[in-house]
């Protein structure tokens, strides 16, 4: 009796709203003591009180898959079906982050696609920490925006299969939603302008190839790129964006320093070598000095000049492929050992075993990241 859905509740996606949670998990929740004690006879108001007491989110944990209070409250909300205004209030409140996530989860399960995007995307700006209980009983650290991202992009969360929603691009193509405007967009523009100024000061050639997605593309493409990348940047850490810039700048400077140091070394070496040779020749006698020295000096000079030119080209190429982190002399040396390693790796995988069953099993193991079968 306590487990029956409210008779005045609408059916969600064509079925009893409680059926959004699959049978085994549903039975586990009904047998749970938290459900029996705390969730009996809850209304929308008293549910808020219970939600404020939440201190972690998660699905089920342990050997016998005990459900968390979070998932019990989600089930309760599915049972009583609060109005959309109440759910939006849950999401909009700033004080209690777990109430927010609870409301967001419920809306993701029951709301229309447009509602889901409209109400969940502002939560991307919430960076607060959350405690998540994993399947083995341990706690993990996560953040509100990470949870929202999981709700919007993955199809499984907290042991509940999330209903399918249309992709954002599809909804934008229909015209029901505006293209997404990230909160970081202004900062992003500033970064772009700063990058462009820096690049104008450096070599022009390598720069725009390096920044392939920030380059001199037509405005529409740039808008699209920016939108795509702002979405991507919101998904990743903000620090990583700045770190990457910092590293790239530092790397460029370091390359220049290294080049300068190397030149200085070479000059110093050359002088030292010449001085040594002079001293030696002077001891041996002047006869040998002039032809050998002039020849060696010219040869050295030519070699140095060639090397300098070659290095300058290498530097150019290095700047152009700064992202790849490979320079031409190093690449040549790295290829033969890499080929050997790949050949050995093929044998290690065991996927080329004569017995087809074992080869198939090894292929599955390799795709799961496990070592091959020991025969």
């Amino acid at each position: 009796m306590a487990n029956r859905t409210d008779p005045s509740a609408k059916s969600i996606r064509g079925t009893n709203p409680q059926n959004l949670v699959e049978k085994i998990l549903r039975s586990k929740i009904y047998q749970n003591t938290y459900w029996k004690e705390q969730c009996f006879g809850l209304t929308a108001e008293t549910l808020v009180d219970k939600a404020m007491e939440l201190d972690h989110l998660g699905g089920t944990h342990g050997g016998n898959r005990k459900p968390t209070p979070f998932i019990c409250l989600v089930m309760k909300m599915l049972q009583i079906q609060p109005d959309k205004e109440i759910v939006v209030e849950f999401i909009k409140n700033e004080d209690y982050k777990y109430v927010r996530v609870l409301g967001a989860f419920y809306l993701r399960l029951t709301g229309t696609d447009i509602d889901v995007y409209r109400y969940l995307e502002p939560l991307y700006n919430d960076y607060r920490k959350l405690r998540r209980k994993l399947g083995d009983g341990q706690y993990a650290l996560t953040h509100v925006d990470e949870v929202i991202d999981e709700l919007l992009t993955k199809d499984y969360s907290c042991d509940i299969a999330l209903p399918r929603i249309k992709k954002r691009l599809t909804i934008e193509a229909i015209g029901a939603l505006e293209p997404r405007k990230s909160a970081l967009e202004d900062d992003f523009e500033e970064e772009e302008e700063k990058e462009e100024d820096d690049q104008l000061m450096d070599t022009d050639v390598g720069a725009h190839e390096k920044d392939y997605y920030r380059g001199q593309s037509p405005t529409r493409e740039r808008g699209r790129d920016r939108k795509r990348d702002s979405h991507r940047h919101r998904e990743r850490d903000h620090e990583r964006e700045y770190e990457r810039d910092y590293e790239r700048d530092r790397g460029r400077g370091r390359d220049r320093d290294r080049e300068r140091d190397r030149d200085r070394e070479r000059h110093r070496e050359k002088d030292y070598r010449e001085r040594e040779r002079d001293r030696r020749d002077r001891e041996r006698g002047s006869r040998r000095r002039s032809p050998s020295r002039s020849r060696s000096r010219s040869r050295d000079r030519d070699r140095d000049r060639d090397r300098k030119d070659r290095d300058h080209d290498g530097e150019e190429r290095r700047r152009r492929h700064a992202r790849d982190n490979s320079s031409s002399p190093r690449r040549g040396a790295a290829e033969p050992p890499k080929k050997k390693k790949e050949k050995e790796k093929k044998k290690d995988d065991g996927t080329d075993h004569p017995d087809p069953e074992i080869a198939e099993a090894n292929r599955i193991r390799a795709s799961l990241g496990m070592k091959p079968l020991k025969l």
Partner: protein
């Protein structure tokens, strides 16, 4: 390499080849790849002993040809 048989008594009987130093978690992933259920939905038991994910088959003394019970979470 050992071969383990998992039976859920509802029609799903799966033979899985694995190493004896694989963990139960790895075995669940292999079973999931073969049956199509998710790995975290699978529970492997032997007469009320729920097998834990981080222990190896060798430590549970699971030998070649042994039958395990397949349940779902």
């Amino acid at each position: 390499m050992i071969e383990v048989v998992l039976n859920d008594r509802l029609g799903k009987k799966v033979r899985v080849k694995c190493n004896d130093d694989d963990t139960i978690g790895d075995l669940k992933k292999l079973v999931a790849a073969q049956t199509g259920t998710r790995a975290d939905k699978i529970r492997i038991e032997k007469w009320y002993n729920i097998y834990k994910d981080h222990i190896t088959l060798k430590d549970y003394e699971i030998h070649d040809g042994m039958g395990l019970e397949l349940y779902y979470n």
